[in-house]
């Protein structure tokens, strides 16, 4: 792995890692990760409702990654350029879980992604609900099968703002890192 990706990974890596992955993102990896996480969550002492929320948001994060990693990066610069490359890290903080995903995107797409997340982050809980319903009812599926609802859903279910960062990789490409935190108050016994 290149120094560049090591740096991205280090930035993404916080807390105690439950599952971390870097490599090709495919449907099988997602399926396997989800069952692994489900198994691991059985041993973690948090409320069932939090586990459900976490699982739901993890599904969206991974599928979001799956639908958007296929940027052709064949500019021959290094091994990083393999298409379908992605990173995800699920970790446990003191009183929260943290899901961080990362993938390469073309420079031109940054304004759209940034605009979308900034808009989501500017909305109140009630506005987010209305926005979700609007997109659900009015927007067609994209070619990739994404419904444009993933990010809204992640913000809505987590109740937290979406955190993002772009790392410049080349003139054309950047590494896009998205992080969402799910609050998990310790179980009161």
């Amino acid at each position: 792995m290149s120094v560049f990706l090591d740096q991205c990974y280090e930035h993404m890596n916080k807390g105690e890692v439950i599952v971390a992955y870097k490599g090709t993102i495919g449907a099988d990896i997602i399926t396997n990760t989800l069952s692994l996480v489900e198994l691991k969550l059985e041993d973690i002492d948090v409320q069932n409702a939090v586990k459900k929320k976490l699982y739901n948001i993890l599904v969206e994060s991974l599928q979001n990654l799956y639908h958007h990693v296929d940027v052709p990066l064949n500019n021959g610069k290094s091994d990083d350029c393999k298409s379908n490359f992605g990173i995800f890290i699920l970790s446990k903080l003191d009183d929260a879980f943290r899901i961080s995903t990362g993938n390469f995107i073309h420079h031109d797409r940054i304004p759209v992604i940034k605009g979308k997340i900034d808009k989501i982050n500017s909305l109140s809980e009630e506005e987010l609900k209305e926005f979700y319903k609007f997109v659900l009812n009015n927007q067609k599926f994209s070619e990739k099968g994404g419904g444009g609802l993933g990010l809204i859903d992640m913000a809505r279910k987590s109740g937290n703002k979406l955190d993002y960062k772009f790392f410049k990789y080349s003139d054309d490409f950047e590494f896009f890192n998205l992080t969402v935190v799910i609050n998990a108050p310790s179980n009161l016994n």
């Binding site: 449907a27 599904v59 609900k129 659900l136 099968g145």
Partner: protein, 126 residues
């Protein structure tokens, strides 16, 4: 009409559709990467069913998880039921949610506010 009986998988729900009884059950998880493909036969079946529906159509939705890709398809299913209702047929959607699952209840309420079909929110108690 043909009976639909789809067995559930870790990513897709169990679905049974009976044109004679008018009972439709959707149960389990719906988190496939491409849900359009999965839901197409269901939407097609409903379109056919709407031509000669049972006197009462009861739709039981009991999902543990569903992703946003499925949420669009579920809306498509409900839109078919809305047409049925509009044509003066008796239709009800029973939306089940687990006691502590506020997100699932809220998801049901979202649909209820979009779709003009009576919903009944039913809490599952262990």
């Amino acid at each position: 009409m043909e009976l639909i009986n789809i067995e559930g998988t870790p990513k897709t729900p169990t679905i049974t559709m009976n044109a004679e009884s008018g009972v439709i059950d959707i149960k389990g998880r719906s988190i496939p990467e491409n849900s359009i493909e999965f839901y197409k036969p269901i939407v097609d079946w409903l379109e056919e069913y709407a031509k000669t529906p049972a006197s009462k159509t009861v739709v039981n939705v009991q999902l543990e998880y569903f992703n946003t890709s499925s949420s669009k398809c579920i809306l498509d299913v409900f839109k078919k039921l809305e047409v049925l209702k509009k044509n003066n047929n008796d239709v009800i959607i029973n939306w089940y949610y687990e006691e502590d699952d506020e997100d699932m209840l809220e998801a049901g309420e979202d649909y209820e506010s979009i779709i003009k079909v009576p919903f009944k929110m039913i809490q599952i108690v262990d």
